[in-house]
């Protein structure tokens, strides 16, 4: 490992430890306690954080097991929730993809894509020297996975020990962080429209297409509308 790689890896690792890793970690606390409710061992709970690395998928999986639902239904719901990872990986790929990268490295970088690493990558990778992006990103994501695995175990062991408002407050951290980071990194009309439509269309989508397809429908319909309106509005104003 070159010293430049190590320096940028440590840079990303530290950047994550400064805040984002703890936010995603706290949301995995809840997954740990849910895994215990589902009757799984602590090892499986931690493994799910490392190998699935998507809190919504874990919540769906453990939520279904805990409520006695079918595993096939859980797998389908997990798949539906994971479709969003496809545009997320694609949209940061031009910043991470370098000539000559081995396939295992590409798969590892794609595996690390989740909401927290995606929003940081969207904010910081474009303005960074191309050679520093990959080690920074790997360091950032490694810190998130390390903290989250620990928090999953902690949540498993501490289940139900927190008073109501505190437990609710922890669950509120994730939406707050994502929303402020989204607003903070919005640069143009399509970005702002995407945020507004993404938030606004979910209740409508839950009524029309149901809770299994609400995210997908909102992403496709709202995202396409934001893209088209964002192109059309500035031209009209000009």
């Amino acid at each position: 490992m070159s010293s430049a790689f190590r320096r940028d890896f440590v840079w990303g690792f530290g950047r994550a430890l400064a805040l984002p890793a703890w936010i995603v970690g706290f949301s995995l606390l809840g997954v740990g306690s849910l895994a215990r409710d589902a009757g799984h061992p602590i090892g499986a709970a931690v493994l799910s954080t490392i190998l699935i690395w998507a809190a919504p998928a874990q919540l769906i999986l453990y939520g279904t097991i805990a409520s006695g639902g079918l595993l096939v239904a859980a797998a389908l719901a997990v798949g539906l929730s994971a479709i969003r990872l496809l545009p997320m990986v694609l949209s940061i790929w031009p910043y991470l993809r370098r000539p000559g990268q081995p396939l295992w490295l590409q798969l590892l970088m794609a595996h690390f894509v989740a909401a927290t690493s995606w929003i940081d990558a969207t904010r910081h990778l474009p303005g960074m020297e191309p050679d520093r992006r990959v080690p920074y990103y790997l360091g950032f994501a490694s810190a998130c996975v390390a903290v989250s695995s620990t928090m999953t175990a902690l949540g498993f062991l501490l289940v139900g020990a927190l008073p109501g408002p505190m437990a609710a407050g922890l669950l509120c951290l994730t939406p707050l962080y994502f929303m402020i980071a989204l607003v903070g990194s919005a640069r143009n009309a399509p970005d702002w429209l995407a945020i507004a439509l993404g938030v606004g269309l979910v209740p409508v989508a839950q009524i029309t297409v149901g809770r299994d397809f609400d995210l997908l429908a909102t992403g496709l319909v709202g995202g396409t509308a934001a893209y088209l309106l964002g192109r059309w509005l500035p031209r009209r104003a000009a």
Binding site: A57, L59, A75, V78, A82, P165, P175, I195, P203, G223
Partner: protein, 113 residues
């Protein structure tokens, strides 16, 4: 098969497999996508919309402990956090802290009332 291995098999087959398949698919679909193309711009906007939708879902139809706090308080934490973010030199930490402080105090007050 041993009973103790069952949970791990569940994680792999019902969790990892249906989830990871989309990341792997993206790696292979990415060949030839141009950063400046309209297709790429559209994908970026869809990804942003999806994350905003995840936020709304976490607030609007949340998990257990959060559900006990009224929707008005859950939803109000977002504008409080965003306002604090812009007022306090665009600090992510201070924005989150302000939103959290508002949320926990309001939830606590609601629990007493």
């Amino acid at each position: 098969m041993s009973e103790a291995l069952w949970p791990y098999l569940v994680i792999l087959l019902a969790g990892v497999l249906p989830n990871e398949i989309f990341r792997v698919a993206a790696v292979f679909l990415s060949r030839g996508i141009d950063e400046e193309s309209e297709l790429f711009r559209w994908i970026r906007v869809v990804a942003t919309t999806l994350l905003a939708a995840v936020v709304c879902r976490l607030i609007y139809s949340p998990a257990a402990a959060l559900e006990q706090v009224p929707l008005a308080i859950r939803a109000s934490a977002l504008p409080v956090g965003i306002a604090a973010f812009f007022l306090l030199r665009r600090s992510l930490v201070l924005g989150i802290l302000a939103g959290e402080a508002w949320f926990v105090l309001a939830a606590w007050w609601f629990g007493r009332a």
